[in-house]
Symmetry: D2
Subunit: 344 residues, 4 copies
């Protein structure tokens, strides 16, 4: 941490700050400059809470230096994490594709989509059982009935089941019937839910919150990992900005930014990230080109009749075309990927 004194700060005020630093057991490094003094602080194990210094007399600014996360960092684990879900992986050389409808609406719908998903070579089937909806008056998901359908799909198609947990009781059910626990954007800082997921043996797919900084998102992952569950997959799904031509603004630079800091795999969700079917394929291509480990895609056998998020669902044919295009792009990146692997 660095404390910058005002140019008008007296020697007395600077000494008082130095005293407090020593009192709390840390080492102050005063650096007098041409116009003002800065005081570096070392000796801390983790981050120091600098807020306490902010309103002391003579202090102009407090600048945090140490990052607050530990477990997610490359410092801790220089090799990239490969999350294993049965015989499928996320974060390795395989491109991870998670596809399916926004919500499970009926057996017919779910099977039609699952068949398309399996045909494309994808290994993961997504489908909402309980839907967190902005309005209480819209379709909230089939709930328990959806589980029966999910179980059948797992058996019939050999797909891994990815479902969002909206509260802690849902985690129990996913542990029974599913393969990956999804934490949605609205619950990214639902710390009770994060801790519960952290006590599970299943991998956790953690979506970025709508207004989450990179640091907040990584600290949410840190909550899960601090409970002992190291199988976390990050999912960029767009953030809220002033732009109105999309539902969210997909922040693809988050992918290289995370790569530089963390060993966790990152996937991209261009369906929620744009909110509009005609944009999903171009942004899926971009997500792979930027270096993501996989994609999450909404597919519906009849998008115009979908009970939720109908505007962003692809038809099975559009989805098949998307998969072909992203594999073509991924293949051009193979040497690069190999290079990455070799450095790990």
């Amino acid at each position: 941490m660095l404390i910058v004194m005002k140019s008008s700060a007296t020697a007395h005020e600077t000494d008082a700050v130095v005293d407090i630093i020593e009192t709390i057991g840390l080492r102050p490094h005063p650096m007098p400059g041409a116009t003002r003094t800065a005081i570096g602080i070392t000796g801390n194990e983790g981050p120091v809470d600098g807020q306490r210094f902010e309103n002391l007399p003579g202090v102009a600014e407090v600048i945090r230096v140490t990052k607050p996360y530990k477990l997610i960092t490359l410092d801790l684990r220089p090799d990239k994490t490969i999350v294993r879900v049965g015989d499928a992986t996320i974060g390795g050389s395989e491109l991870a594709i998670i596809a399916g409808p926004c919500a499970i609406e009926s057996r017919v719908q779910a099977f039609a989509v699952a068949e398309a998903v399996q045909r494309s070579g994808a290994r993961f089937f997504r489908g909402g059982v309980w839907k967190p909806r902005t309005s209480p008056y819209t379709f909230q998901g089939l709930g328990d009935k959806a589980w029966e359908i999910m179980r059948e799909i797992r058996d019939a198609f050999g797909l891994k089941i990815v479902t969002e947990a909206v509260d802690e009781s849902h985690v129990d059910l996913i542990e029974k019937h599913g393969d990956v626990i999804q934490i949605g954007a609205r619950n990214m800082q639902n710390f009770s839910l994060l801790k519960r997921a952290g006590r599970s043996k299943l991998p956790v797919l953690l979506k970025r919150g709508m207004a989450a900084t990179l640091e907040e998102w990584l600290l949410a992952a840190e909550y899960i990992m601090a409970e002992g569950n190291y199988n976390v997959i990050l999912c960029e799904r767009g953030v809220r900005t002033f732009a109105q031509h999309t539902r969210n603004t997909l922040d693809l630079a988050a992918v290289p930014a995370i790569r530089r800091i963390s060993h966790l795999p990152v996937i991209v969700d261009p369906s929620h990230g744009t909110g509009t079917a005609y944009m999903v394929t171009p942004l899926a291509r971009a997500g792979i080109a930027v270096g993501a480990d996989g994609l999450m895609i909404e597919v519906h056998n009849r998008p115009e009749l979908a009970l939720s998020d109908s505007a962003q669902a692809l038809t099975p044919a559009e989805y098949a075309q998307l998969i072909e295009e992203v594999h073509a792009i991924r293949s051009t990146m193979a040497p690069m990927q190999k290079q990455v692997v070799s450095t790990n």
Copy 2:
């Protein structure tokens, strides 16, 4: 709802849209214009999900007209809601002041602050029992031990207790020992928690989410009310923007915007809304001047030692000065307030 056809749309495409509208039981109103046709839709009870039309051939845009909320509206209830908490009120002629530390840290701290709060004439004491913190490595609140202190404060000072519920089990405890359930910004779309609060007999103070539009915020209130609990207080606490001179950007225009639509009371939290002690009093004044029904203020007997949010806590002396200033401003607005009351 209004469906705007492309200028290149064929008569056949327009007819197809008209057919679908009729098929789902609604009435289409085609309006041919100079360059394109728009189709109005009536006959719907609530909002129609327009997404289904977005990707139909020939459709340029779908424009929603009907608002998705009901219970929060002045249409439903033209008189402003006055929330009663024992002998105190929020939303009436009394200025509602909710003050206290970010978190209950010790008996000594809590009592020192509560004494200052009571002395100022405020009726509500806030204090975190469980703290939702961005990092898992920072102080998470005293938990159950804090409740003993809270109970003593309620008895000793006659203050109403306002505490944040981070999960459903907390609501049970607040129902036992507290007076108002606070839903924090990070949980504004934790729909399980909203529904649980909606089944409580206690009033609910609902903070705006960090990236919540007005509509999303009001729909979160609608979730609570749809379960039968009509005593909802909205709290503006700043939103996330590009600006870096404050922790959040306090959006005071939300107050008149809500007044125009809703009967619910609105208060302002300048402590979280700015994140810095020296800004709290000016923004508290602004919050009252813009027409809020009250304020939520963080106070600490020794801010420099606070275990959380130390940079934004006021000292008891600063807080007392703030209360004096906001009452002076409020008193200039009395004739205006009366006018508002008389129209209700």
Copy 3:
């Protein structure tokens, strides 16, 4: 400036950074910590361009400490600037009110509004001569014809004329016929225009850009002052955020934030800051309560017929009521204001 090395940085990499710092004539202060080394830099006169260090081997992060501005700071000039425009002032004890129509549309319109402005006790008349409009197909201002009307108003009502300069040639004309040069939000970083205004003898009212950080805004003022013109008035007019219930989000915390750094006066424009007539008065009250030195308000004799910004213009009657309310609030702040004056 502070350079934070990676925890994996070698001693060699740290030495290389230290060498470069010395090579460019500055003094390095290495501070080895538990997990990583930080290197403070002193000896610089102004800010050092830290970007050059960002991609050096072993560097994790470069943190700027010295602020890039000089002339706007309280360090340079501890007394608050009072801008004098003839016998009127902005920044002193007088509340500065600048009011008038968005654009001068006709002699009848301008005179009707000017009369209401004068009657309210305001000293400044605003009115667009050339209008920077988002679309090329909308009303662009009367141009030279508007100047004749402005001159007559200056003579007839004794009001000071405030007009926006859209390019350098406009500054010439304002110097001839007007009293204050306004730089609009869209031109806040039009550096050629800022420099031209900096060479004028007239005061400059500098609006904040739609996405300008505080620092960028203050540096735009610095451009004007660096040319020798110290009479700069800052005007907060709202910034662009995700919020859709207003045209812009008025960031009132900018007022105390600037006060803490700068001696320049700050006013608030609730008309552009909200974009909707019914919100202008509440936000004007809030602007005064937060501590602004004045207001800029759009008034039109017949808002429903205005050729631009019709939704945000107040009628003369609404405007008169607004002035009464803000004076009442300002009067409660008199002791505080006096205190501010006495410390200067």
Copy 4:
């Protein structure tokens, strides 16, 4: 346009709105619904200014339907525009690469970079002559001296010269010595400059403003085209959001969004769009994968010594690698591109 009446609106109020619509020569289409009446408007040639209706008694909301732009639309010109610059093109089958240093700093620097640019097969050389800098105290460009260097580069390497015009006099000089006029993000709504560029015979590269909506950006293009210059290239360079891990948030969804509306070519600038060298290549790949017609890339022979934007400049070797990777991705998209061409 659509006017939505309040549910409490009287028949009289609705009739009054209908009357005004007819008075201004348009045709009203009242549509009574279950709870409220909406009134469609047709008969207008261009967009109607709906603001005038917003504050009329009984009006709840005014919804604009007609888009305000004309010349940029696919309605006007269904074939994609191919901008020709001598024997090079932007918007056709050729991938347009514009590369060079942020600013021309010296003959040695400019030649070293130009050589790398030519070697890569790129056809366009960018280099700042005058630099719009946030602070008045930083390097402002070489000005006229830079032109001599640019002329030599044009002759020696056969590269087309792309330079930013900061004011109207610069356009004169670019017309003399350069090939493409760049309008920077800070000047996107400098309407005087846009009009001057619109009267030029040179193509104009129009960068998106930092907080510009798609509509504002397209209307800025419309300003240029309305003066007769149809050779406009749009350049996405990131927008300002709350995210702090990049200098700007690159909004790649803008590319398909523009494709759907406009015939103008679009390129992507990942250098300004991220602000950090290590992110430029991944985002360049993503820009091509999303469907952009080209890239603008900052290259410097010695980035660590660059006088501006040093953190985001690539070395010649990094740049050469980038070009290879984007061509590989582009080649996978050839069938798709052909398909696009065939539909035009």
